[in-house]
Symmetry: C2
Subunit: 280 residues, 2 copies
């Protein structure tokens, strides 16, 4: 079984009704103090996708990270609070027992799913020109963190700084906080909605790039909009995605990141946004 | 009392504990089938800002629109689900009684607030060059919808099409879905967090601009990141904000809009994102 499928394993809680699940924090996606946030977002989404009352496919996912997920068991509750003719609104809460066994909220989250219909469509954000993934070197940074080994990342620009010299990158003719890379699961795995949600969060904190300084940073709120439906994901398969991310503002402890993911055919699969805490 | 302050009036529900409020749907901000979504988002935020347990100032707001708010009374419940040392996580639900008196969910929402500290800061998205608001003509579109009268909007580019000829705007050298305008409350009112949340939603559906076609469209999920703190809002006062919005993708019933709002001094006060349902 693929690492991601292992991480997404959820067991229904007997007698708790539909939508209450338990799972285990994934060691395979471990970051500094808990699993990589993208894996947590994927788990939140999975709790909705496995609910028997599900209508349609994901349109929007917002996850707010209230506390780090620790090792061991967690509980996730997915509740459909309103079902319309073609859209469905969900709230999701992930909790974990503290030392006294009392449940502590780790994330609040909302999901919108919808039955999509074919309409006039257009991609207003063409994929940037890029050398193909086969001609792009894998990243060479220290990959000791487990989650970094779960992705084949091939930076095109804005790789993690080789030196932390505190020299601000502020060329006014350039987007100083922009990273661009090819990315796919390692080992390869056909992309689905949870994988796409997780991959929307592979971009390291923009403050590190902008400042060439390793300041403490952590995502506070993360939103993904799914532009692809399952047919487009099926056509993408195990292929690389081209991803890019940039910041818009760094201000008094918080900065934002906006990101896009295209498949190799140039279809914009997802856009995402997050606001990130940073220190100093 | 200003129209916005009237719209934001919330009364505590006696005996229901902190955070449960009633209000009345604002006729002054009426759109087609209910109040303008920005006014609803501002109300959600207000329910948190008036809570006695509030920590800090807003960082992130996500509102999912599950059903239209009808005329008359509504209830809003703001619940602090986790309070950390410097951040606080909220869930908010707005409901309205149906014909049988049963509460129906209108919105799900999450808010993050935080005690900000002064840190290294930089604006990575300079305000675009623009003629000053005094030299820019107010919009001349049909303002019969009440909420349009609540804003002084002065388009710089991407105004509502004068003709609905269905001719797609698709100049590849241009961002075809981009609108830019000066905006402030009408009459002027010092900007605060609820006003900023509402103003992040003044941009009409990008599908109308892109297609020059009036298709049915409605926001499904809306997120605002607050880069400004109350001191920066205080310095902004009643001044105009420069706003811009664009889409990234239109696909099978849903498109996204990303927006920025700067004050006249060039400070990026807020960025926002939404995903919008459209027909045809």
């Amino acid at each position: 079984m693929h690492f991601l499928d292992q991480a997404l394993q959820l067991e229904p809680v007997p007698g708790a009704g539909d939508g209450r699940w338990t799972g285990t924090a994934s060691a395979a996606y471990w970051n500094m103090v808990g699993p990589f946030g993208g894996a947590t977002a994927a788990t939140v989404l999975q709790s909705v996708l496995r609910h028997p009352a599900l209508l349609g496919e994901p349109i929007a996912l917002t996850v707010n990270f209230a506390a780090a997920l620790g090792s061991g068991a967690f509980t996730v509750d997915a509740r459909p609070v309103r079902t319309n003719r073609s859209t469905q609104h969900w709230t999701v809460e992930m909790t974990q027992a503290d030392a006294d066994g009392a449940p502590q909220t780790l994330t609040t989250a909302t999901v919108v799913t919808a039955a999509r219909r074919e309409t006039w469509s257009v991609n207003d954000t063409p994929m940037p020109d890029a050398a193909p993934p086969e001609a792009t070197e894998p990243r060479t940074m220290d990959n000791r963190l487990a989650w970094l080994q779960r992705y084949d990342m091939r930076p095109l620009r804005g790789n993690v700084p080789a030196t932390w010299d505190g020299q601000q990158n502020d060329d006014p003719a350039d987007v100083a906080s922009l990273s661009r890379l090819w990315v796919r699961d390692a080992p390869p795995r056909p992309v689905d909605f949870p994988a796409l949600a997780a991959m929307s969060d592979v971009f390291y904190p923009r403050a590190w790039l902008r400042r060439r300084k390793l300041v403490p940073a952590g995502t506070v709120s993360f939103t993904v909009y799914f532009h692809a439906d399952s047919a487009q994901l099926g056509a993408t398969g195990e292929g690389f995605l081209l991803g890019q991310a940039r910041a818009q503002a760094f201000r008094n402890g918080f900065f934002d990141q906006s990101a896009q993911l295209w498949n190799q055919a140039g279809v914009l699969l997802a856009t995402s946004h997050q606001i990130v805490y940073y220190k100093e």
